[in-house]
Symmetry: C2
Subunit: 766 residues, 2 copies
């Protein structure tokens, strides 16, 4: 589901820990250091990793990708089930204890979609992606669905059209300043600027009766590069499908929030499912959007609203009406999660969970199969190691999820079904999704930051022949040179110092959400990208094998490189004497987030004062062109006195506890982790449970499913993370009472985390 966004990850970049940097320098100088391993065990582990790597074969990945992307494989398609069964057989062949776990989920499919422009220059939208020369699967229609946005409402509406840019909150402010109301109208938005599902949701909130989302060539077409098949970018009739469920409230089956959609589960009535839209929505191509944009009159769109089509973008409304129809079959469909287990030898009740989804929107070669084949390669290699006599200390659970595209269905329902067992047993969840050529993107729980760095330091980039970590370091430094954000500059500074590279905080958009944000299991998400043209065919029928081997990873060497990075993390997590987690890294990262919140408060206060001064002096009215008047912006509420001291105090106290933990851990490491088995069990159990302490049972405001108080997808960003979300979103939304409440809730969570950490430290020192 997730689009490869390596560049924005790194630009938005989370901030690394100096703590981590210092310690990593040590690791760099001491090649034998391996977090959580005694020296002897580290040497054995390196040997194991070499044997693991030797079994990875790009030819396997190519063959699996070709087969699995040969037919449409969305939820409910025959090939989706066939792929699950293919993997089941493979996992079993490789020695895994595998099964398919099935959930029946709400999965609407379109019976009729139509879109036409009425009036003097009528246009009937094609809503269809034609066959493309040299793309073998592009002609296949059997089993494929037309482009649609799943979980949009049904409707048959006719209304005038308004162009609302990205359809984000700021865009509605601009419309209001121009006196343009979308009530009773159809809103035309373009992809970008925020998550897809927010566009129709906000349109609906503002009173629109329909919503269209198109791919402008500015972000996703010829303005980025040559279009398919000459280049990899989106052609004129290419459409980005995708879910518009309100996943910021809860992902998974819309009818079973918080519980597994097992046969006997209590399901909501359709009308009570709060994540479902009421208005119809359709994704369209820029070919289909062009006549609609040409039909608009009214003011010329502001500079930042204009795309790359050869026309003057107007806001509207149109004089002619647009007629759109969406009628769906609102039945259930099965999702097939393939679950493969390799039981641990000494700690079978500690699970390392590794997942990637297998359902696509059509053929899904890039998204998700390019990541899924890396996971398969890991499973095959691990099977090979087992056949050589090795067994993991901890249990490995490899999962290929179904139904990620419509709303993280397979992973969420599985996690909800097995919630109690997972919270007891899961040590970490390691996710991947689409994969391409280029630079490692790594996000996740910051207690795992050093593990990621150590592993990335030991895997060689197939094209530059330095470690993938050194390549990422160079990338962060070059990207931040010149005009980058303060955060990116700080990342680059840390990168230049030679220590650990920061990993990104996770929002949503892939299958880690339920594990990290609902269950509180430390999670990671990995993928390579930045040197490919994935954006151009994202969620279209051109996301194909033929596209991937031209514009993706033609020789599958980045597929095997992803398998190495993910596999080494899995193997080290499985075999470490003491789990490879550094809570000091988390504590340092939290300090930075708290610092960001103070800066956000200051900036909000300053911007509010500036706006009020401009309003009070009538500067907006005087500056405005009387012939094309734009009203002043609505007056922002005053910023009251804001007290973040509870958060400051909690993070300061955590710093001290984290330092004590790291000292104790380092002390144990120097004595080769000479703990008794019972002690190790106790320490590891406590470590695995740490992340759960960051959850609050009542969850975030208005979305109790999201328990994690440090990482969440933004309510108004969708996939992109908001860190310390209870506090940050209250400031951004100017909800001052909520801010006070969640400052305390978050501080309490951090205090509980600290208390657990102190107990862990004590257990380590015993």
């Amino acid at each position: 589901m997730r689009q490869t966004i390596i560049r924005s990850w790194l630009l938005i970049g989370s901030v690394a820990t100096t703590f981590g940097a210092a310690a990593a320098s040590t690791a760099t100088h001491d090649d034998h250091g391996m977090l959580g391993f005694s020296a002897a065990n580290a040497a054995a582990q390196r040997s194991l990793e070499q044997r693991f790597d030797a079994q990875l074969d790009p030819a396997d990945l190519r063959a699996w990708l070709k087969q699995m992307s040969s037919e449409p494989n969305q939820v409910g398609s025959p090939h989706d089930k066939a792929n699950a069964e293919f993997m089941l057989a493979k996992f079993r062949e490789w020695g895994w204890d595998a099964h398919i776990e099935t959930f029946d989920v709400l999965y609407p499919t379109p019976k009729k979609v139509a879109l036409e422009l009425l009036g003097p220059k009528p246009y009937m939208a094609l809503l269809n992606e034609p066959e493309v020369a040299g793309d073998a699967t592009s002609a296949i229609r059997d089993g494929a669905l037309p482009p649609y946005n799943i979980y949009g409402g049904d409707g048959d509406v006719s209304a005038t059209l308004v162009y609302a840019n990205y359809g984000m909150p700021d865009d509605y402010k601009e419309l209001a300043r121009r006196g343009i109301d979308v009530r009773g109208k159809i809103v035309l938005t373009r992809y970008g600027g925020g998550w897809r599902g927010l566009k129709p949701k906000l349109a609906q909130q503002h009173g629109a009766i329909g919503c269209l989302i198109y791919s402008d060539p500015h972000e996703d077409g010829y303005a980025q590069g040559d279009v398919y098949p000459k280049g990899g970018w989106r052609p004129a009739q290419g459409v980005q499908r995708g879910s518009v469920a309100d996943m910021q409230v809860y992902p998974g089956d819309p009818l079973t929030p918080g519980i597994g959609s097992t046969p006997g589960a209590k399901r909501l009535a359709l009308k009570d499912a709060t994540t479902l839209l009421k208005i119809p929505v359709l994704p369209i191509s820029y070919g289909d959007a062009t006549p609609l944009l040409q039909s608009l009159t009214g003011p010329v769109a502001p500079q930042g609203w204009r795309g790359a089509l050869p026309l003057t973008y107007h806001i509207g409304p149109s004089t002619a009406k647009v007629h759109m129809t969406v009628a769906s079959d609102w039945g259930q469909k099965p999702v097939y999660d393939v679950i493969a287990v390799m039981k641990g030898s000494t700690a079978p009740d500690q699970w390392i969970v590794r997942g990637n989804h297998h359902d696509g929107w059509v053929f899904g070669a890039w998204d998700p199969l390019a990541g899924n084949i890396a996971l398969m390669a890991e499973a095959k290699a691990i099977g090979g190691l087992v056949k050589q006599g090795w067994r993991p200390q901890r249990t490995l659970v490899y999962a290929s999820w179904d139904g990620e595209e419509p709303g993280l269905l397979g992973s969420t329902e599985w996690a909800e079904t097995h919630a109690a067992e997972l919270q007891q047993k899961a040590v970490l969840y390691l996710n991947s999704d689409t994969n391409g050529r280029g630079i490692l993107g790594a996000g996740g729980s910051h207690s795992l930051q050093h593990l990621v760095n150590e592993v990335a330091d030991g895997v060689i980039d197939p094209e530059t022949h330095v470690s993938v970590r050194e390549r990422l370091r160079a990338h962060m430094r070059v990207e931040a040179a010149g005009g980058a954000s303060p955060e990116a500059k700080m990342d680059a500074k840390l990168a230049a110092e030679g220590g650990d590279l920061p990993i990104e905080a996770l929002g949503s958009g892939s299958d880690f959400s339920a594990f990290l944000e609902h269950l509180g299991i430390a999670s990671l998400d990995l993928g390579f990208g930045g040197e490919d043209d994935n954006a151009g065919i994202y969620h279209s029928r051109y996301d194909s094998f033929d596209h991937y081997i031209r514009f993706g990873d033609p020789t599958f060497v980045y597929g095997t490189t992803l398998a190495k990075v993910a596999g080494h993390i899995v193997l080290r997590s499985a075999d470490a004497d003491v789990l490879p987690m550094r809570f000091g890294d988390f504590s340092q990262q939290l300090d930075r987030y708290v610092d960001e919140l103070h800066k956000l408060v200051d900036a909000t206060r300053k911007a509010t004062a500036e706006q009020h001064e401009l309003l009070d002096s009538h500067a907006f009215e005087l500056d405005a062109d009387p012939q094309h008047a734009i009203a002043p912006p609505a007056r922002e509420s005053d910023v009251p006195s804001i007290d973040l001291t509870a958060l400051d105090a909690a993070s300061r106290k955590l710093d001290r506890s984290a330092q004590a933990f790291e000292a104790a851990y380092a002390g144990r490491a120097q004595t080769s982790f000479n703990l008794s088995s019972a002690q190790k069990r106790d320490v590891n159990r406590r470590m695995a449970a740490m992340e759960q302490a960051l959850g609050d049972p009542d969850g975030l405001p208005g979305r109790a499913w999201f328990k994690h108080m440090i990482y969440a997808p933004g309510m108004l960003t969708g996939y992109d993370v908001k860190t310390v979300p209870g506090v940050r979103e209250a400031i951004e939304g100017r909800r001052w009472d909520e801010l006070a409440r969640y400052t305390q809730v978050t501080a309490d969570v951090i205090d509980r985390y600290r208390a657990q950490l102190d107990q862990l430290t004590a257990a380590l020192k015993k």
Copy 2:
């Protein structure tokens, strides 16, 4: 010639003086304050201004514009001469002592221009602007020249094509990193990013054999607004003509640098005129550019290089060749300056010079006639005042220049011819050029900043009915809200404080250059804009009366408003007891420039260190996509120890002298300027000569014509100013020896200025 660039003026904005701000607050509170006038004389002057204003009639402006733009009026055209004779008659009718002063100048005109794309998809460029419905003059061909870039070389060349974005120095660095050489090729550039003439100059320096410049719709076409005739923006076949003489070295007749091109003047041979290009260059429309851009192969152009045409921009080279031909008649043509004099009663040897040009590229309704008709309205109103019995104390010289478009010919030749007399007599030069609806743009010598503010405070904006100063204040505040430059933020801060608004430093692009930068006469440049679509027809045949009355200033109220602002400045300068100049404002502004230079040195040092670190760590190589490799940038030279203390000391000493002057001036103002006539004459003579002290006889490096050491057009920006240019451009160009030399030269100039100021202060206190 100058394009209306109000928004960028204000964004780049010079920084105001706190000194000025404080004093202006006083003026605001005391309505009777008028700089340089006793209270009694101020009251009389206000009454005079009201009588002046009453004689301004928008109907006059409309009639003059319609007549003067009815036929092509470029240099050498019959209508250009007719316009001069028309004005001569009018000035005389209005009671002025007027004559036409003629200079014969090098003025090449095209005999043949042609452009074709060869190869498998041949295309013959139209190079022609078709008739447009509703534009009465667009069909007139008699007397018009084809679109061309005057002072480009002749040539008939065939070569492959390379796209070089704006054709500026940074663009060539990007080409070099991609291994693309323009030697022996034709370079395709787009307008924007720097002055037109630099594009072929840099192409020639890099070895190209031809250069094309096109208007991309991103900057100048449908991406900005509806195109003509639906809206005001450039249609597909619209072409921006313009000069490509190397005016940063010297403007005026290329054959008579530094002297008037009078009949007996010694003229250079064509081959020795250093401001002439050697290679052919042609301006083309985006209609004609499209097939050329489509012919390009090679790498996809970097993000910032891509325009708004519906294609993927590649760098090239093209596989097919382009054939271009330019053949010109290199003869001389007369330019007709209309000079009208109203002799002063008590100080006839002090001149207030007011100018605007009258030649256009085709019909020139916007550029320059919209400004020229304001000047005519002023002259008519002044004539009316004279008929009522008033006479100015000082002499007024109203000038309508010819030949501005090819290279500031008429003003430069006149200024060079009368250099000695002007340096003795001219108090200030007040320029305007094109004019439109909107916000006042004001630039000039900072000793005149307070005068501009006082006058702008007393002229009412015709659409918002507040003073044009308050409207500009609102504009500066709103524009700087959000993400503006530190300079714009500082401007907005000063604007918010309620005092004087900063005026912009002047670069070039209009007729003030010779007066300010060659002769050292304090100068101003004024115009309204920002709410019109001038950009869309700039230097095209659609710059017409019909366009102006739809998209310019339909009721000509901004024309009369410009006449009020300019007229009041002229009248106050003519009648002040003591000249309305504040050298304290200049001194404060200079402090800011010196501060900027220190910051520039620091930033250069930091950027250099960063680049060297990235190069030394091979970050560029490691980050680059091996499949589309981009070489690291060339290593910048080390930044040595830099010593600006001479400049610091000179500006600090000037601060003290300026404070003493302002105190002495204020003291005299409090006693109603009770000086003897001889004292007044002495003081005013000294004041008028102050600006000349900012000149150095040897001028700027490599361009001795430019004497002013504080204001100059940038060698690599063209029209845009570089303040303290000897120092700033040496830093930017990393010419460290030159930097040391010009730090001293500039400090010496400031010291001489200070010494003159001290003498002036002493004269005031006598």
